[in-house]
Amino acid sequence: MIPELIVLSVIVFIISKQLPGDPFTGSISPKTSPNQLHHLMKINGLYDPWYQQYSNWVVHLFHGDLGTSYEYQEPVSSLIASRAVNTFWLALLTMIMTYAIGLPLGLYAGRHEGKLQDTLVRIYSYMTMSIPFFVVLVLGCWIFGYDLNLFPTAGSVSPTASGFFPVLFSRLYHMILPATLGALFATSGITQYLRSGVVDAKNSNYVKTAKAKGVSMKNIYKHHILRNALLPIAAFAGYSITGLLGGSLFTEQIFSYPGMGLLFLNAVNFRDYTVMTALVLLYGFLSLLGTLLSDIALSVIDPRIRVK
């Protein structure tokens, strides 16, 4: 995990140093003399060799100092923190809805294996898997946001909301459409996995024994099949973090939702490279953390996967 982070940080740092323009391009006026500019570059360490700049950056990183955003003129860490909350809640809601939609569908398809219901669920999975999800977000934003005017199409909270509960509801109200659309198009993995888990469990000996003993079908599903099929899926949650983060670029762009994805896109347009670097590193770190959590959870659940 640590070597991966180091390699990622070096790559990200080198890339961000190659970006055209320097951070002061936006803040100089015609009166600024070149000497002044050179002086600014010098005290900010922009003339040092790249490895020196990198080591400086890493030292600052460990002190929690990610630099100052040249665009917003505030510390990057606090800037990201204020946006990360929005992304976090949206991702959490999307994930909850994905499981809320995907699990019943998978169970339903597995229970009616080979019948019409199974085929319908398969068609649904196939469609959601093949269509690029940002296209659906655009369509959904148009239909439900603009045309039917059911949901807000921009922002994370209504400016008129005040007080704890109105703000909470306003936040939820802003998140519900992007989260639902995102969830509808992220279920196929869970559904297919749970379906095959249920089908496998149905044919296993312990279910046959339970049946022979006269346990009712409802109890067999509740206590024998579902438990065994569900555990690995619960552990996969960590892996889905990568997808959720990657999707946040699109979701936040389409719904003008002020999270980290939109912050990154704006930072690219303004060449705000302290923000860009920090965000890419953070996204990489979070994906790594998600993978690690899933690995640990899986090995706890299933001793066969445990690393030797």
Binding site: V12, Y126, M129, S130, P132, V135, V138, G246, L249, V280
Partner: protein, 305 residues
């Protein structure tokens, strides 16, 4: 044994052997009408955009024409309407589809070739080679690919469709390599590979002439499915504004018209056609992939019997 008997034996052997996978595919597509329609649709559409774009002058198309300001669909000269600069949506759709599809094809070819080689080498050699190659794979899986692509596109001072394809293919080979590696691992322990090794066949020949042909149907299916995915990748990148350079239409830039609140509500024709086209194209290609997968599964069943 005379020649007549030999011919007879040969005929019998042919009849009893499993049908070739090509023949199975043709049969599958004959039986499944939706798959056949998908193939005709996709191939016809690709040919239409490629030949259609020969008759359209991109400079004329992309120049501003105030008379066509948000022309409604079906007005003369604007079959599918015009955008804010009076450019014909239909023309942009044809050129944009050609650009998007060609980039997706290029990306699929390059990334699949690389992924297949990576998976074959990693799976065949095993041991320390496999371990280190899988570390690289793990690393590529955690990096935020889309963000890094956006940064790289910003660094390069001037780029075109080819450079964009190359940049993208750096980041989209992992799925294929994983699949091929897993299959190679099981394949390289089979008797025919062991026998070939024992008789001194060169490693390269074993990998590419003996193992790879046995994975060919898997590769075909995977390539088809990643083609649909790659159309999404290119349009997505162009949608965010970091795809092809400005002034070059792409399906993504057309969909990006929807970012404007006026466009999305009033001037729906500026973006809706491209959106629907992407959906239909991706569905059709994935359906072809699914039909191909069915044939490969049935080949496996037959050869196992």
């Amino acid at each position: 044994m005379n020649e007549v008997e030999l011919d007879k034996l040969e005929k019998q052997a042919k009849e009893s052997s499993a049908p070739s996978s090509l023949k199975l595919m043709i049969n599958e597509f004959k039986a499944d009408k939706i798959a056949l329609i998908s193939v005709i649709l996709v191939v016809g559409f690709i040919l239409f955009t490629i030949f259609g774009s020969f008759f359209i002058n991109q400079n004329n198309l992309m120049s501003t024409n105030i008379m066509g300001y948000f022309a409604k669909p079906f007005t003369p000269g604007y079959i599918l309407g015009g955008d804010a600069a009076g450019r014909s949506i239909a023309g942009q759709l044809i050129i944009g589809s050609r650009n998007s599809i060609l980039i997706a094809i290029g990306l699929t070819l390059i990334s699949s070739t690389f992924g297949v080689c990576y998976g074959l080498v990693s799976g065949y050699f095993g041991g320390i080679t496999d371990l280190s190659m899988q570390r690289v794979y793990d690393f590529m899986m955690i990096i935020p690919a889309f963000m890094i692509i956006i940064e790289i596109v910003n660094i390069i001072p001037s780029y075109n469709a080819i450079t964009l394809t190359l940049i993208l293919s750096l980041f989209y080979w992992m799925g294929t390599s994983r699949l091929i590696r897993a299959q190679t691992l099981s394949e390289s322990n089979k008797d025919y590979v062991l026998a070939s090794k024992a008789s001194g066949t060169s490693t390269l020949k074993i990998i590419f002439r003996e193992i790879m042909p046995n994975l060919s149907s898997l590769i075909v299916v995977d390539t088809t499915l990643s083609f649909a995915e790659n159309i999404g990748v290119e349009t997505g990148l162009s949608y965010l504004g970091f795809g092809l350079p400005n002034g070059t239409p792409s399906l993504g830039t057309l969909i990006a018209n929807a970012n404007d609140a006026d466009n999305i509500t009033v001037y729906w024709w500026t973006w809706l056609f491209a959106t629907i086209e992407v959906i239909i194209l991706c569905l059709a290609i994935s359906y072809i992939g699914a039909a191909l997968r069915r044939t490969t599964n049935s080949t496996q069943h037959r050869s196992e019997k």
